[in-house]
Amino acid sequence: MKKLLFAKPDLCSGCGRCTYACSAVKEGLFQPSKSRLRINNFSLRGYSVPSICFQCPGAACQKACPVEALSRDENDVVVVDAEKCNGCGLCVAACPYGMIEQGTTGLAYKCDNCGGDPACVKECQPGALVYQEQDKEIVKVKGLQMKQRSTSGIPEQKRHALGLAVLKVGREE
C-alpha cells in the first residue's frame, strides 16, 4: 500500500505551521492563503480541523476536468499538468472538500504530497499530520472527515463545513 497524507484533528493545536511550510515550498513565500492544506480553527471550542486533500479514489476533480489535466501519479496522488490546464475551474467546483483552487492566472493547484516528502508533516509538532500507509485508526478518522461533502459553495465554505462536522464529534459533551 502507498503512503499518503492523513490528518488527526484531535491532535491539532491550530498553530498553522504546516501552512507556512507548505507555502514556503510551493510559492517561495510565507502565504498561508496559498497553502495546499488549511487549518479550520475553532478557538472558542479549543479545537482545530486540518483540511487536507484526501487524494480521493475516483477523484471528483479529476472526473470534472474536460482537458485531462489531472491525473494520478505513481504515488496514487492526483496531480495537475500545468501545460494542459485551461483554467476553466470545473475541478474547483467539483471538489467536495475545497482542496483544489486556482491562482491568479487561473491555473489549478493542489496538494501533491511534495512528491513523497510532505513539508507540512515535518513541521507538525503535535503529530496531527502524518504521512503513512493507511491503517485501522486512520480509516476511522479519515472516514469521519470524508463524510462531510459539500456540493456547492466556494472552497473556503466547503472546508469550514467539514471543520464544523468534525468539531461536533471532536468536542462532544
Binding site: G16, A24, S33, N41, S43, G46, E123, E156
Partner: protein, 591 residues
C-alpha cells in the same frame, strides 16, 4: 514602485476615527534599524505623535498596534504583536502584547501595523480585507461579550478565516483594567487597552489577509529556522511549555514560598493542590497554540460543562490562591467570564482579593469573603456592567478602592497596575522588577522567580536591567516570552537571514536598551519620577507569613539600595533620569 521589503509588509494603516479617513503610509525605513518592529517601532511612532501629557481616554490620544519583525513567518513563537499607548490604568506608557493569530493576519493583509486616532461619533468596527478597509457601524454589537462579538464580526465579513480584536462591556465602559480579546482566550491584557478602544468608540477590528511575507533567501532562511528550532527551542530547558504550560508553575512557586495567598499575606497556599498543574492536566481535553508556535502551551480544559483555554498560572494564583479559591471549576468560570466580558484576570482577581481582606479586617463590606466562590463569580459581571454599587466601586481598580477605604496598606499595586503572582518579599529581584517596570507591577519585563540569589542586590539590579533590555528586543522581533533560551546571537542570525543583510547581536542588545530608555523618557515627561518606582507598603512593612520566607519584608532601606544600584547600572542618575552620555550613546539625545 518601490521594491518589496523582506520580513516587513512595508506600510502602515492610519485610521482617523473622528473624520473616518483611512490612509496608508510607507513604513519609516529610517527607524527600522534602531527599533526593528512591534514594541520598539510602535513606541517610536507613538512618541512622535502624542504628547506625554495626553489624557489617555481623550480623542487626542492614539493607539499604535504593531506586528513583530518575524510575525507571519515560520520562525517559531513569533505571532506576538504589541499595542502602545498611554495607559488609562497607570498614566504611564503602555506596552501590551498579544499572541494568537491577529498579528499575522494583519501583516498578511499588507500592514506592519496600524495607528488609531480620534474618536468615532457612534460605535464602529474596522474591517480590513487586504487593501479594502472600511469603518462599519457597531451599534448592533454594543453590550455584547467578546466571544459573541468575534463570531458576529466573522459573519459580517463573510469568512470564518478572518481574525478579530474585540472589546466587551468592560471596554465599552472604559474600565481601567479592560482588555482587548482575540481568538476568544488571547488578550492585550494589562494596563487597560480595552478602555482605549472604548474611548474611541471602536468595538473591534476584523481582518482577513491573503498576502505574503517574503524573506531574502527562502531555502537559507528555512534552514536557519529549522536549525534553531531543533537545536535550541526543542531542548529540555523549554520542554515545560509543551508538557505543562504555565499551570506547572503553581507547585514551583508554592515550594519556593513565592505564591501570593490571601491577598499577599502568605507565601504558601497549603490548599493549592486544587488549582495546580496536575488539577489543570486532569481537566485538560486538548493543547492549543498561537499562530506559528510548535509548543502549544495553552491547555484547553473542561469541568462540568465549563470549558476554556486556560486558566494560566497568573489567574490560578491571583484569581485562585490569592482569593482563597482552591478548586479549579470556579477559577475556570471566573477566567472565562473575564475573557468574555473583557477584564484583566490579574487586576480583577487582585481587586477582589483586596475587597476580601478589607472585609475580613472590618474596613469595608462588599459581600466578598476569602473562599466564597459564589460571590466571587457574581461580582465579575457586576464590575464589567457597572450594574451594582459594589461592582462600580471594584471597577475603579484596587488603587482607588484602597484609597477610598484608607487601606493602601493592603493594596498590592505599583503605579496602579496590580502585581502579578510572584511574592517580592521572597524574591527581591521580582520586587525591583515590579517597581521599575515602565507600566507598573508587571512580571514580564525581567523574570527572576527561579534565580539562585534572589536577595543579592548587586546581582538582582543587574539582572533586572539586563532582562528588561533583552525582552525589549525579543518583543520587538515578535517573540514570545516562553522561548526562554533564545539569545541575541540566534535573533541576529535569523534576522540576518530574513533581511538578507548582516545584523549583529550587539546592535540588537542596544535596541533593547534603547526601547527601555525611550519608555523611561516618556514616563519622566508624563510626570513620573524615582518616587514612583516604589513598592507597596505591605511589601516593605508587613511580614510575610508561611513558608521559607516567613517573617521577611523587603525593607525601605534595602529597596532604596537596590533601586540606586539599578539606576547606576543603567547610567541613570539618583532620580532615575538617564545621563546625557547614555542618551547620546543610544541616539536619544535629540529625540
Amino acid at each position: 514602485m518601490k521594491t518589496k521589503m523582506n520580513l516587513y509588509a512595508g506600510k502602515l494603516l492610519v485610521v482617523d476615527l473622528t473624520t473616518k479617513k483611512i490612509t496608508t503610509e510607507p513604513l519609516r525605513r529610517d527607524w527600522l534599524k534602531e527599533y526593528r518592529g512591534s514594541w520598539g517601532l510602535a513606541l517610536r511612532y507613538y512618541w512622535e505623535a502624542v504628547s506625554p501629557q495626553v489624557d489617555p481616554l481623550s480623542p487626542e490620544n492614539q493607539v499604535v498596534i504593531m506586528t513583530g519583525t518575524f510575525t507571519g513567518t515560520l520562525v517559531p513563537m513569533t505571532s506576538r504583536t504589541c499595542l502602545v499607548s498611554k495607559s488609562p490604568q497607570t498614566g504611564t506608557i503602555l506596552e501590551s502584547n498579544i499572541g494568537g493569530a491577529f498579528g499575522p493576519e494583519l501583516k498578511l493583509a499588507g500592514y506592519d501595523g496600524l495607528i488609531l486616532k480620534g474618536r468615532a461619533e457612534s460605535p464602529v468596527y474596522l474591517q480590513i480585507i487586504d487593501d479594502q478597509v472600511t469603518l462599519e457601524s457597531a451599534v448592533a454589537l454594543i453590550g455584547k461579550g467578546i466571544f459573541e462579538t468575534e463570531k458576529l464580526l466573522e459573519d459580517a465579513i463573510g469568512t470564518p478565516e478572518a481574525k478579530c480584536l474585540a472589546i466587551g462591556p468592560a471596554g465599552e465602559n472604559q474600565l481601567p483594567y479592560a482588555i482587548i480579546g482575540a481568538d476568544a482566550y488571547r488578550q492585550f491584557g494589562r494596563g487597560g487597552p480595552g478602555a482605549l478602544f472604548g474611548s474611541k468608540n471602536l468595538k473591534g477590528i476584523v481582518c482577513r489577509g491573503t498576502g505574503a511575507v517574503r524573506v531574502a533567501d527562502m531555502a537559507n532562511f528555512q534552514q536557519r529556522v529549522t536549525r534553531w528550532k531543533q537545536e535550541n527551542l526543542l531542548s529540555e530547558a523549554n520542554a515545560w511549555v509543551s508538557t505543562d504550560g504555565t499551570p506547572g508553575t503553581v507547585d514551583m512557586t508554592n515550594e519556593l514560598g513565592l505564591q501570593p495567598t490571601r491577598n499577599f499575606t502568605k507565601g504558601v497556599n497549603e490548599k493549592a493542590v486544587g488549582v495546580n498543574g496536575d488539577a489543570v492536566n486532569r481537566a485538560k481535553i486538548g493543547d492549543r497554540a498561537c499562530n506559528s508556535c510548535p509548543m502549544a502551551c495553552g491547555k484547553f480544559t473542561r469541568i462540568n460543562g465549563a470549558e476554556m483555554e486556560g486558566p494560566e498560572y497568573e489567574t490560578l494564583v491571583v484569581g485562585g490562591s490569592n482569593c482563597d479559591i482552591n478548586e479549579l471549576e470556579p477559577v475556570i468560570r471566573f477566567n472565562r467570564l473575564c475573557d468574555d466580558l473583557g477584564l484583566d484576570t490579574i487586576s480583577c482577581g487582585a481587586t477582589i482579593s483586596l475587597a476580601m481582606e478589607m472585609n475580613e479586617a472590618g474596613r469595608a463590606d462588599h459581600g466578598l469573603c476569602f473562599g466564597d466562590a459564589d460571590e466571587y463569580l457574581k461580582i465579575v459581571s457586576e464590575i464589567a456592567h457597572l450594574s451594582t454599587p459594589r461592582g462600580r466601586e471594584l471597577a475603579q481598580g484596587s488603587k482607588r478602592l484602597a484609597e477610598k477605604y484608607s487601606s493602601t496598606d493592603m493594596s498590592m499595586e505599583i503605579k496602579g497596575l496590580d502585581m502579578a503572582a510572584y511574592e517580592p518579599r521572597g524574591n527581591y529581584g521580582m520586587g525591583l522588577a515590579y517597581a521599575t517596570s515602565e507600566r507598573g507591577a508587571c512580571h514580564l519585563r525581567a523574570f527572576l522567580p527561579f534565580h539562585e540569589t534572589p536577595f543579592d542586590l548587586d546581582v538582582m539590579s543587574r539582572e533586572v536591567a539586563e532582562g528588561q533590555n533583552h525582552n525589549g528586543i525579543k518583543w520587538a522581533l515578535g517573540f514570545c516570552q516562553f522561548w526562554g533560551t533564545l539569545d541575541f546571537e540566534i535573533m541576529a542570525d535569523l534576522l540576518s537571514a530574513g533581511l538578507g543583510e548582516s545584523v549583529t547581536a550587539a546592535e540588537l542588545a542596544t535596541t533593547g536598551e534603547r526601547i527601555w530608555n525611550l519608555s523611561r523618557l516618556f514616563n519622566l515627561r508624563a510626570g513620573f519620577s524615582a518616587k514612583d518606582d516604589a513598592l507597596p507598603e505591605k511589601v516593605m512593612k508587613r511580614k510575610l507569613e508561611k513558608g521559607p520566607h516567613a517573617g521577611r519584608v523587603f525593607s525601605q532601606e534595602d529597596f532604596e539600595t537596590a533601586r540606586q544600584k539599578y539606576y547606576a547600572y543603567r547610567d541613570w542618575d539618583e532620580n532615575g533620569v538617564p545621563s546625557q552620555q547614555k542618551l547620546v550613546e543610544l541616539g536619544l539625545d535629540s529625540i
